[in-house]
């Protein structure tokens, strides 16, 4: 494999890791606050559809992004109502959101655009364009570093850079601010937060809302940057892979980055090497497509070791005497 091919695979890794990373960080906020969120997938899907639909209709990708975030936040609030206010089962609420999004997006898409459950293709200002970083062209011919800068680092949409900046941002927020301290505490022992005179409910809603915003950006990225338009089930399990990455990362932001890059790499490899000819035998494309998912299972089963989730995760908080 030559150097350029390697760069192309890595470049593709970055693109494919971005939605995983955003969703993974979304889950991190929610689960660190003690709200398990299996509905990342559904929120991304809803955001993908509404961002594509609004971007198409308005011609502005930024309005599309806002619509995507809005749709995802609405579902987040639903999850919050079910699991914080009404102390319901967080898994069931998450599953319901996934079903709701899967059905609703296709239904509304068919009713609005009549194209078999997809949105029309997005062009021009209705999509996020790649950004060429300063000096990328001039430095292109510098050996090794030039191509790395030009091919790998430059030339992504703004959402990719946003996603990667969210990693140090999240770390700082979690470990260096009052909000982060309280957020982590409420996922470990909400009673400690409550008796310290801080509202458990408000903290958990804040976490769930941040989760909604990040899922919204992830979904919008899928439909308006990675691809040009919405198609049925376009998240393709990314929400669940993000959850797997979150467990793999032991609910920590920097580990989350590594985990998402690893899963992105698996997807990139599967995309690039569709049919592998081994002379007498050809590995079919379906095997390659399934590979990232299979490896997800293998990695989670074998390599995670002891991952301790936030101790109050999944438990509604009830004041005790």
């Amino acid at each position: 494999m030559d150097f350029m091919t390697l760069l192309q695979v890595l470049d593709s890794t970055v693109r494919l890791a971005t939605p995983l990373l955003l969703a993974c960080l979304a889950g991190l906020y929610s689960e660190r606050a003690g709200i398990f969120d299996i509905g990342l997938e559904g929120k991304m899907l809803a955001a993908a559809f509404f961002s594509a639909a609004v971007a198409y209709m308005s011609g502005s990708v930024w309005l599309g992004l806002l619509a995507g975030i809005g749709a995802s936040v609405v579902l987040s609030i639903l999850h919050g109502l079910a699991s914080i206010t009404f102390r319901g089962n967080q898994l069931i609420s998450g599953v319901a959101i996934n079903f709701l999004a899967a059905g609703m997006t296709v239904l509304v898409a068919q009713s609005w655009f009549a194209q078999g459950g997809r949105t029309p293709s997005l062009t021009g200002a209705a999509r996020f364009d790649p950004i060429t970083l300063p000096l990328a062209e001039t430095l292109q011919n510098v050996p090794i570093l030039g191509p790395i800068y030009h091919e790998l680092i430059s030339g992504h949409s703004i959402l990719v850079y946003l996603a990667f900046l969210m990693v140090p941002g999240t770390w700082w927020l979690l470990y260096r601010t009052r909000f982060g301290l309280r957020l982590r505490a409420v996922g470990e022992n909400p009673a400690a937060v409550d008796t310290a005179g801080v509202s458990v409910v408000a903290l958990r809603y804040a976490a769930v809302l941040i989760c909604g915003v990040l899922c919204g950006i992830a979904g919008a990225y899928l439909a308006t940057a990675l691809q040009a338009g919405f198609v049925k089930d376009m998240t393709a399990g990314r929400g669940f892979i993000a959850l797997a990455a979150l467990i793999f990362a032991k609910w920590r932001p920097w580990y989350a980055l590594s985990a998402c890059l690893l899963f992105g790499l698996l997807q990139a490899v599967a995309l690039r090497y569709q049919n592998i000819d081994l002379g007498s035998f050809v590995i079919p494309v379906q095997v390659m497509d399934a590979l990232p998912y299979i490896l997800t299972v293998v990695i989670l089963a074998g390599f995670v070791g002891r991952a301790i989730p936030p101790r109050a995760g999944g438990e509604p908080y009830v004041k005790e005497r």
């Binding site: 009052r178 310290a196 005179g197």
Partner: protein, 535 residues
Amino acid sequence: MTTMTTAPAIQLKGISKAFGPVQANKDISISVQPGTIHGIIGENGAGKSTLMSILYGFYKADKGEIWIKGQHTQIPDSQAAIAAGIGMVFQHFKLVENFTVLENIILGAEDGALLRPSIAKARKELQHLAEEYGLNVDPDTLIENLSVGHQQRVEILKALYRQADILILDEPTGVLTPAEADQLFRILARLKEEGKTIILITHKLREIMDITDTVSVMRRGEMTATVKTSQTSPEELAELMVGRKVLLRVDKKPATPGDVVLEVENLQVIDEKGVERLKGIGLSVRAGEILGIAGVAGNGQSELLEVLGGICDATGTIRMNGTELPLTGKGAHGQSRRAAGIAHVPEDRQREGLIMDYSAWENTVFGYHRDPAIQKGFLMDNAAIQEEAQAKMDRFDVRPPHPKLAAKNFSGGNQQKIVLAREIERNPDLLLIGQPTRGVDIGAIEFIHQQIVNLRDQGKAILLVSVELDEILSLSDRIAVMFDGQIMGERMPDQTDEKELGLLMAGVVQTPDASLEKVVDQQFALQEEEREGTR
């Protein structure tokens, strides 16, 4: 205003609180003078915790007023309670286990949006508090690596850091060794000297007598009396709590031990984390004898009961009436242990002794449900079981005596009576009984203790595990003390005292003149070593 100087630290006027049909607090009035230690004593469900929860803003009273330092104060939430200078140390600590001491202390009392300045300030303040009150804790240790006694100090420090001058402690000694409890009381005395007001909630009469200035007694949601501690006695307080005369001492004849029933040699248990929980235990129990196992919770007593009861596997030897019992595999299950004549009243009756959602009559046959006497073809003879359950409940004075009521609807004491009835009435050779009176009211304690002694007098062997030293001392015919998976020694109850047992419980075999402080430090050092060892 001249009245301000003598204003009570806390004054509650006519507090009432109902949960549905249950009146948890009925028209309660109380007045606590500043700079005193005020005890509140009462049985489980008497309403002590509810009252304190109202004071700390967890619940809102239906009626009544709260006056703090002479001012009428509204306490809608914990924030308001903290602002009024009230700090609370809950029975179950409200600490974040994987945070450091400092992080726990500033949580909710941070000075700004960024952590760094708050932590620096707290570190300084902590040093100051440590010097002033003798509350030393390493500020950078994770809570999960601290001993229970030190975790409790963190709770007290949390309150002091928030400028509390009224400190409420809810059953603070339940989790402490006697030495740690003594240390806590010294700290409380120090806090009192500094002018803090302390409210101590407990069900232990001895603590009330030892440390409080005044004491209020609660019964069934009402405040039945408030007296000066120096002018009352444990007997009087017990009577006020229960509403009738109570026998505090167990009434029993000297034991007449017979043949050895249970023999245990070199019993070893290693848990799934690889930690050695029992390190080669040996003991024996004779017929007509109560062997009491003393120790702080978590030193291997639970594992000992579980191995004998057939719940957990082990290596070593157990002989029952001279026959060796298997320690692993099919022969080591509860069923075969019962067949061998071992009955087990587990430590955690709500999780292991009963199925809380099942009715009392169903609970009276669990473990014995294969008995041919209660089968009818391939069905169970429910009518017979219910009839038998009714008879058992009458004999054991279970209230209310309704076999069809779910186990969870009985009080702790009555739940324990159901378990006891099931196990004792099967006429076992050996009764294993763990924490027989945990969460049980004084009135029921008397009854349960009497049942255990009666069983002994019938010539049965009894292995009693309890973290309550009083209970061990008053029931046992022989006492073995466990520490760190080992038996530190055996003593006869009339030849020992709480102090000697307390030292053994802390893992110290002989310290003629060591101060308690030193003992506790040694204990922590041992625990540290243990932790290092398991890493």
